[in-house]
């Protein structure tokens, strides 16, 4: 499937963070060559070299944008990283637009002389924007864990958290209906939030399980984990838990999950949230 390929699942590594090294390196090197052309004005090769480096930078940036956008589409709609990814994308588009302009300016005056002040300033601004946006992109991976362990999950993760507010301030003592049972296929998960409590619901075969969303190791999102052989595996560091009992099957996590009772009635999933 093209989407899986663009997300790098066959390589167990997303494509976007691999491809971005090319534009980042080429844009940065283009600026290095500009500075060199200012220091060594008699050297005629530096300015055209900066031009070509920038040209390949724009080409590879456009290439890297495609899997980046596909990665973005799979971030859960209410995930804090989603807004970050939008900023990351807008900054990158601005940077590529500026570099396109920059290339145009240079093309009309590529004469082996020193670089003009306007293209040079544009390059400095471009590298500045790239640094900010690159850092943002890095935090989406290292802080928010987007794309980490994603290739081990066979089915798509939940698109959105199902929020159930209401029911007054007190925690409910009755089971709460959270979703249609038919909404969930084998190996799929839901992410449900009742008041503040966040729960992942998984289906394996014809059985449904509910457990805490956050892994007790580094709090990774278990609703994005792999559901297999009666266990859920955290996408981040592969801690494995029994779906029914929540006990640890494999570390690094040391304590088990809180589990919740799920019942199916009238094709609807009901969950017992403990009171208090």
């Amino acid at each position: 499937m093209i989407k899986d390929l663009l997300q790098g699942k066959p390589f167990k590594h997303p494509l976007h963070p691999f491809l971005v090294h090319f534009p980042v390196g080429l844009f940065l090197f283009s600026l290095v060559l500009d500075v060199a052309s200012l220091i060594f004005p008699a050297e005629p090769t530096l300015e055209p070299a900066a031009f070509y480096s920038m040209g390949f930078g724009v080409a590879t940036a456009l290439l890297a944008a495609v899997p980046g956008f596909v990665d973005y589409l799979d971030i859960r709609k209410d995930h804090p990283a989603r807004a970050k990814a939008v900023h990351h994308m807008l900054l990158n588009l601005a940077a590529v637009g500026l570099y396109g302009l920059n290339l145009g300016l240079r093309y009309s005056q590529a004469d082996g002389q020193q670089v003009g002040w306007l293209p040079f300033v544009l390059s400095c601004v471009g590298v500045g924007i790239l640094s900010v946006s690159g850092y943002l992109g890095g935090t989406i991976v290292y802080a928010d864990g987007v794309g980490v362990g994603r290739h081990r999950r066979r089915s798509p993760g939940p698109k959105q958290t199902i929020e159930i507010k209401a029911l007054g301030a007190a925690a409910p003592r009755e089971p709460v209906s959270v979703a249609k049972a038919g909404a969930l296929q084998d190996g799929e998960t839901l992410r449900v939030k009742l008041a503040n409590v966040v729960v992942a619901i998984a289906r394996q075969g014809d059985e449904y399980f509910a457990f805490q969303e956050f892994c007790p190791h580094r709090y990774g999102p278990l609703s994005e984990g792999k559901i297999e052989k009666g266990t859920v595996e955290c996408p981040w560091h592969r801690s494995c838990f029994d779906l029914a009992t929540g006990e640890v099957k494999q570390g690094p996590a040391k304590i088990g999950l809180k589990t919740y009772k799920v019942t199916v009635r009238d094709d609807t999933l009901w969950i017992d949230f403990p009171s208090g």
């Binding site: 090294h21 802080a143 805490q212 580094r218 690094p252 304590i255 999950l257």
Partner: protein, 123 residues
């Protein structure tokens, strides 16, 4: 030349990251291979630079040996960067290392059972 300088700057951060990976984890080996391939690449590029040093001002085009070294260097870099990438995206090395306090708060609010707050944990 700039590549070599930047590579040398990146080395200590990589070694420190590797030092945090526990010995018995599979990622420890991946890190070791990643480091060894990178060291070979740096040495290759160092030799490459030496070969080019004498003649870089001549417009005669690049010689066969430096070109071969560059091709080999690029190939090895692809291998080692893939190893490095797998450590992050497959084994989660460095993931949530700095953000775990933030995520702990989110998990606490979300009513999760959590380990008692304590010393540094390692992935």
């Amino acid at each position: 030349m700039f590549g070599l300088l930047a590579a040398l700057i990146a080395v200590p951060t990589g070694v420190l990251d590797w030092a945090e990976v526990k010995r018995e984890k599979p990622a420890w080996k991946w890190g070791l291979y990643h480091m060894m391939v990178n060291l070979i690449v740096i040495i290759l590029y160092g030799m490459n630079l030496g070969l080019r040093l004498g003649s870089y001002r001549e417009a005669a085009g690049v010689g066969q040996a430096p070109l071969f070294f560059s091709a080999l260097g690029t190939l090895l870099l692809l291998v080692s960067s893939y190893l490095g990438g797998r450590m992050v995206y497959d084994y989660g090395i460095g993931i949530a290392r700095h953000s775990k306090e933030k995520w702990r708060k989110v998990a606490e609010e979300g009513g999760a059972r959590l380990p008692p707050e304590k010393r540094e944990e390692q992935a």
